[in-house]
Symmetry: C2
DNA sequence: ATTATTTATCGTAATATTGCGATAATGGGA
DNA sequence: TCCCATTATCGCAATATTACGATAAATAAT
């Protein structure tokens, strides 16, 4: 127990859930918004921008990266992070498919 | 430690994260899809549909309800669940605002 | 070479989540 | 009234997440 029963669901359901989970944290939402706002990428600026420790920010970046939503490029001594366009749009599409599959019919409870 | 530092973020970030978290689980995605597919609401059918125990389904329903994404109406001895249209559309809008705030500029890393 | 800067990783503590059996609570029908 | 069906809640065990200090690893500058 304690573990999600992955085998009970489709691949699509598990993947969508994993990507949504990556976004479903206020720190990671803030990081994404900051990356978008700064357009070109930042790195340790996130540490001063949000009120979190460096280790914590690094860990959140790792999670976003692990589902492919951001990418990091080494740039001298620092690392430049930014949104990964393909995964970003792909997730947007999948999320909207879910939302749009609901048609309000007022035949409900 | 172990707790999210809620005070470090805006209300909007915390709310969006909470609603996304409710969706970010394969069982809850499956429940939402089933509710949408059945249009009018079901209840304990979810238990036989997914391979989870009744207590588990009930708990997932509670979480979806707690962020307002579904509603339940008592109907005799059973309870009829369905999507709550306002919250559903509101979340879709907020999610798309986040996604659309990113403009690809290939000035990135 | 040494030092400073930047980021990743390790280890740990606190808390949250997931899943389920057991049990309560509610209302319908015999 | 007594059972049956349905759903919620409690309590628990296993695991996951969150946050951070300490430390390592890598590169730039002196």
């Amino acid at each position: 127990m304690g573990t999600t029963k992955v085998e009970a669901y489709t691949e699509a359901q598990n993947l969508l859930a994993a990507q949504l989970k990556a976004i479903a944290h206020p720190a990671r939402i803030a990081i994404l918004q900051e990356l978008i706002k700064a357009n070109a990428c930042i790195c340790g600026d996130l540490v001063s921008e949000l009120g979190l420790a460096q280790a914590t920010i690094s860990q959140h970046l790792k999670e976003l990266k692990s589902v492919g939503l951001i990418q990091g490029t080494i740039e001298g001594t620092s690392i430049c992070y930014c949104i990964e366009p393909k995964a970003w749009h792909s997730l947007q599409k999948k999320v909207n498919e879910l939302f749009n599959s609901y048609k309000e019919l007022n035949t409900c409870c």
